[in-house]
Symmetry: C2
Subunit: 325 residues, 2 copies
């Protein structure tokens, strides 16, 4: 993994992925006590940064392999990214989901043209189901984060941040990144190392799901005790990957861990001050920037708002609790 791979991925997805805005608000600056710049990947196609890695990985396949189709094990943002990128390439996509996945996620994935294959949660192993389908149909599995071309695609977020921050004269700052398995965080970290060495990536996670923070602190990959029970579902993974952990441990500052309730507060702030919709996991870096300013240093902070795929009920909860702020 190096900057050349990221530049190549960025070239391949150019004109397909959106260049998302780096937004600011004087009201958010006031809350944080410093300048806050928000990279709004919720405005990316499919509502999250995941489309970048999906498009980068699919476009990197040799044409004969690609034509057979791709497969992903996901019920979330990665699934939608793969489904759309596959449709754009006019190739089949199979998404393996638990049988009890939310109806909206199933419908969205199908609407992007993918075939959904279910496994029975608790009775079947999702990876085994994925491997079976992969072998039976000659598909290529696109892993959600521990996959070089996926990391390279997510790294394009970092290239844009480097450029957009420099245009605002921000060259020294922490870059807070919503972190699950570390694909986005490690891709951004590699881009910043090469293109904006004064910017430093830092993973942000919810309390009780702080595998990356603990992994960085101990120097060894640590796991979460649970994979469920968080409103930040988009960024809950068992543990960082070997590749992403290696990159993060070399380049990232310490992880930041915040109560998930703060994600709801950050969602309300983004609603009121930025006019953008964030999901809880996609708001956690902004939550750290706004409500945990003691965790970062410097005159400015950059927060990646990684996704906005939230249902009306959860969003309403955030507004009812914090929308009058």
């Amino acid at each position: 993994m190096n900057i050349d791979m990221i530049e190549a991925a960025a070239d391949r997805i150019r004109g397909h992925a959106r260049v998302t805005p780096l937004l600011t608000s004087p009201f958010l600056d006031e809350i944080a006590g410093r300048r806050v710049l928000i990279k709004v990947e919720a405005l990316q196609k499919t509502g999250s940064f995941k489309y970048r890695g999906a498009r980068a990985a699919i476009s990197a396949l040799d044409p004969a392999t690609r034509a057979k189709g791709v497969i992903a094990v996901s019920s979330g943002n990665h699934a939608q990214g793969i489904a759309l990128a596959a449709r754009e390439h006019d190739i089949p996509a199979v998404i393996v989901m638990p049988h009890d996945a939310p109806a909206l996620k199933i419908a969205n994935t199908r609407a992007y043209g993918a075939e959904v294959v279910f496994y029975e949660r608790g009775r079947e192993d999702r990876d085994a189901v994925g491997a079976r389908e992969t072998a039976a149909r000659g598909l290529t599995m696109i892993k959600p984060f521990n996959e070089p071309e996926v990391i390279a695609g997510q790294g394009s977020v970092g290239l844009e941040i480097a450029e957009q921050a420099a245009a605002r004269s921000v060259t020294e700052a922490d870059v807070l990144v919503c972190c699950g398995g570390g694909g986005l965080t490690s891709g951004v970290a590699l881009s910043l190392e090469a293109r904006a060495p004064g910017l430093r990536a830092r993973p942000v996670e919810p309390e009780n799901f702080d595998d990356v923070a603990r992994s960085l602190a101990t120097g060894e990959i640590q796991s979460n005790a649970s994979e469920s029970g968080s409103i930040c579902d988009a960024i809950i993974t068992p543990a960082p990957g070997q590749i992403t952990f290696g990159i993060m441990s070399r380049l990232c500052g310490p992880g930041i861990v915040v109560p998930e309730e703060d994600c709801l507060r950050a969602m309300a702030a983004a609603f009121q001050r930025l006019k953008v919709v964030l999901e809880p996991g996609g708001a956690i870096a902004l939550a750290a920037a706004l409500f945990h300013p003691d965790q970062v240093s410097g005159d400015a902070v950059i927060a990646v708002a990684s996704g906005g795929n939230v249902d009306a009920e959860m969003f309403t909860t955030a507004l009812s609790r914090y929308g009058g702020a």
Copy 2:
């Protein structure tokens, strides 16, 4: 009023106003039955396009006049645009508001650095109060729409649409514009005439507040029976202005009138598919594009989403009614 004034205004506000994105979603295309491109001015500074006209008008003043300060009669998006643009120029701004304006709007206007002067609704005439303050302090009144430099600033939206639509190979389409007094609509119409003659501006208004549609249909300026009682408060004005009506009657297609309930549906669709927050009046052009496709023709339609300054309660209402769509 001509394209040169708009180009000059666009030059003056460049680097200050945001170039807002022209977003799309395959799901919205499906609802509308044609391609839908949404120009998201809710992502503009202050949450609406009004900042453009405010910045354009203030920057057009000669420096000695400007230094004395500006004044606006508004409790809405124009007030916030003027307040921010004045602060950026480091000049005083006075905003005349009714004494019972919502606390949040007062607080926002003050937070942008403006002085708020109240008038008693029903007992005092707001324009008389505005004139008194203007004279007493040597301020310059910036009218919200019937003002050439304001129209020129709003016209920069049309320049961006012309360029962004061409980049997506859309050169023939109706451009639906949320319409109050017609400043945005007429500015956009002038830009399209010069830079994208296959695109045609069309004003969109709520039922019972369709002064512009009736004015265009009859060829004479018509008024609304009421100035209150609509959830689309941002686009409710007594009647189009002489200048804006002249431009619209020469360049615009017929007005489109939709039930205001459709604005709530469009807000829910923008939440779910675009991840952007729209206010009712700012969603009405999208409502026409999505739910009244028979009113437009062609393979594609462009809708300006003009603002996102909505409170949590109204937004929650939209989601509770239509958020599961």
